[in-house]
Subunit: 475 residues, 2 copies
């Protein structure tokens, strides 16, 4: 919405605004039921007085094109089309509101939106900076790809066999023994979770997770009616799980290595305890292991490596290490489960991009992948130290944090409960985008997820200064 | 399952089979509740007598590892793990059975499976032959790609802006006026349907379609509880739609140009009638237009080009023209709808492959795409003529068909109702894979979808001869 009325036009500002709104409705961009921005917002966008906007909207209401709902705002009228040209169109807004899938949380929609803008400092982004992606090397490796004629056809349900073989070789170093038939290629970890949600769980199933969880910021399970229950992994797990599970189906979601957003790393004993507890209650475990390559020190074995009973579904991905744009991850589990989820993937999107699969295969096989990760880890460590330096300089009086063990994040905890939508918005007005703790735990008003992986050193410094100022002022 | 026991092993064949089955269960590949193949099938696979298999299975049953269900077969026992090593594992089979998403129809699972095999003649495949894909040119164009550093990050919710711009330019030639904000990049038409199903329709909504429909062979709508109603487009549409819709939300799914599987092409009047009828009942139309580039004669304008009320959701794709392996399609509609569906796509898979998007952008912009399609159409016409020649030679006494107007398919209609699972299986035994009509219309026992797009000329000839023989014999 970059449009503004022109003061040089022969029409008045008000007339231009009326025309502009009408055109949007005619084109079907603003459909019946669409809520308009507030008069204040429109005035700012149009660069005119609020009274000009108000007069224009009044005229449109009088014409039956817009309608007010008391205390709620102004909407495109249900019969706006009749008013415009005696046509009707579907009430899209109603379609959307009554449909099955939940929208993203508003904060996350805003994050998605503002992440597209170049003038915003992204202090929380869960993604490598463009400068940390091996773009030139990937471009170079495209020249080395030699495509088999069949490579560009529809994929087999589980994905490229060669890639699955290569992944088996790769995870073996993590102590996981899998065969290609135990692997399904997915478009990242999130798709793996979606497939599990619709392909493995009955409605009303329980998803156990930690209190602060990535799953609260997306909602593959919530969207299809699963019940989320937070569990402290240091409680008496076996007993708690058995009690709370009752007769329901259940699954335990865990990110034991470099948890998103807390950065936490489980001890081997904690992993073992979870495995044993879940085994005794026959609860499958989803082990989300997409950050393990980014540990600054050597990683301990994943839960999957202890799995003798086929009850751990293991998720890996190149999104956090090589490129999220490739959209390639993997899910490892018993063949029965893998075949089922591959069948649903075929019904969902007919498989992942063949070219992306070829690229990942090439990078795994040639050793480029592991070489790249080594240098990536070094750069992330350097960035972690840099950001910690700033935190120590400025933030010790208002916040605390753990030294990062790897990955992207510092889980910054403010002494006061100040992290709310208001802080998020105030920072956004100063062009600083944060990931507030409440998107990972609705109860949380003290944390933000700081990422040292995305912004430049300069932006990190500037962004943290603004964060400091805004917090200081809001106290 | 290529394993066979060795006669040179120190263990007996029976012991080796017991060991092999046990290992599969221990590894979690065969989980509690898994149904074993029949004894006959196992004997064939293992290359042993049926009695050897029977004895091995009896022993495993006695040990509590397998169990018989009367009249149903042999299963991995619920407590097989207790028997094996006093461990327990989740009852995956039960998880699968009670989960939300329907499995693919068995015939389609078989088709997906057999399509992976090189020794099968694929007479029905909805995919271009490897020789018709411009593999070498795509490989070549990879060298021309120059990736922006941001290109490999997470995509914006609607997909690459440049690609959306290029698509707007491309569909303009089809009389569709869209802006980038009206476009969402998807991983093919099927994903577009999935997004519409969960993002736009309430449970129990009605999906109108033609009696014989692609939607019956996949089930993006059925899987989430929508109700499918077949409509004859030559009925009194407006009245029928209004009557059958009642108070429900509804949507009309149409493939007006080169319908899959019938190959039918709607007249402009038929399109207009549908548009008017849907408009008067305020029913959105999903126009699936993925085959239009493959019309042998000039295409008439799509329904979307008549759409002044923003009620047509238009789907395009490169899967049928350039490469299904790229997984790139597009959905065009009012911004309200597009933003909603893009939001769900972000929650589902975080966008489509960036590299695939770059490739399609390059092919659209450079003119390579349209040039390729021209020569593709010629080759498809040649193949259509070839297959029709064979049909005319052999099949006139048992079947009839319409001359294909483009695309991949001839909708072959047998005079007798002979197209059933039995025919499908008999042909599979002779290594010929068909797409029987009943997967597109459960009532249909007369049609098969013949595709001249996939098999080689030699295979087409051989496959049709086998089809002829098998039908002849089965009469």
């Amino acid at each position: 919405m970059k449009w503004q009325p022109s003061r040089k036009d022969e029409l008045t500002l008000q007339q231009q605004i009326i025309q502009w709104v009408t055109k949007h409705i005619e084109r079907g961009d603003w459909v019946a039921g669409t809520k308009l921005p507030t008069q204040r917002q429109l005035a700012m966008q149009f660069g005119v007085n609020r009274s000009t906007v108000q007069q224009a909207l009044e005229e449109l209401k009088a014409a039956g094109i817009l309608e007010s709902k008391v205390g709620s705002g102004i909407y495109v009228a249900d019969n706006s089309w009749d008013s415009l040209m005696t046509q009707t169109q579907p009430n899209w807004q109603k379609y959307i509101e009554t449909s099955l899938h939940k929208p993203n949380y508003h904060t996350i929609q805003l994050i998605n939106e503002y992440e597209q803008r170049d003038d915003v400092i992204r202090l929380g982004t869960g993604e490598l900076a463009p400068s940390l992606l091996p773009t030139a090397e990937i471009e170079e490796s495209l020249k080395e790809l030699s495509l088999q004629p069949k490579a560009l056809g529809y994929s087999s349900p589980q994905g490229s066999y060669k890639l699955r073989e290569a992944i088996c070789g790769y995870v073996k170093k993590r102590g996981i023994h899998a065969k290609p038939q135990n692997v399904c290629i997915v478009s990242g970890a999130l798709q793996a979770l979606q497939l599990i949600a619709v392909g493995l769980l009955e409605q009303g199933s329980i998803v156990f997770q930690e209190q602060t969880s990535y799953l609260n910021s997306v909602h593959p399970f919530q969207s299809v009616g699963m019940q989320m229950i937070a569990i402290d992994r240091n409680e008496q797990l076996a007993q708690t799980l058995a009690q709370r599970k009752r007769k329901r189906q259940a699954v335990f979601y865990a990110v034991p290595t470099l948890n998103n957003p807390t950065g936490g790393v489980w001890t081997t004993l904690e992993k073992k305890n979870l495995y044993e507890a879940c085994k005794s209650s026959r609860i499958p475990i989803i082990e989300d292991d997409v950050y393990h390559e980014l540990l600054f020190e050597a990683a301990t074995a994943p839960i999957k490596s202890m799995d003798e009973s086929g009850q751990v579904l293991y998720i890996g991905s190149v999104s956090k290490t090589l490129s999220p744009g490739l959209r390639i991850g993997w899910l490892i589990g018993p063949t029965t489960v893998i075949e089922r989820l591959a069948d649903i993937k075929m019904q969902t999107d007919y498989g992942s991009s063949a070219i992306s699969q070829e690229i990942v295969l090439h990078w795994l096989r040639s050793g480029k992948y592991e070489k790249h990760i080594k240098s990536l880890r070094k750069e992330l460590l350097r960035r972690a130290n840099f950001i910690e330096g700033i935190l120590q300089e400025r933030f010790t009086e208002m916040a605390s944090w753990d030294k990062p063990k790897g990955g992207f994040y510092i889980w910054l905890k403010f002494h006061e409960p100040i992290v709310d939508k208001d802080l998020f918005t105030k920072l956004l007005q100063r062009q600083v985008l944060i990931n507030p703790g409440y998107i990972y735990d609705p109860q949380d008003t003290r944390h933000i997820r700081l990422s040292y992986a995305y912004a430049t050193y300069e932006e990190l410094e500037k962004g943290l200064k603004i964060l400091f100022d805004v917090v200081k002022k809001s106290k």
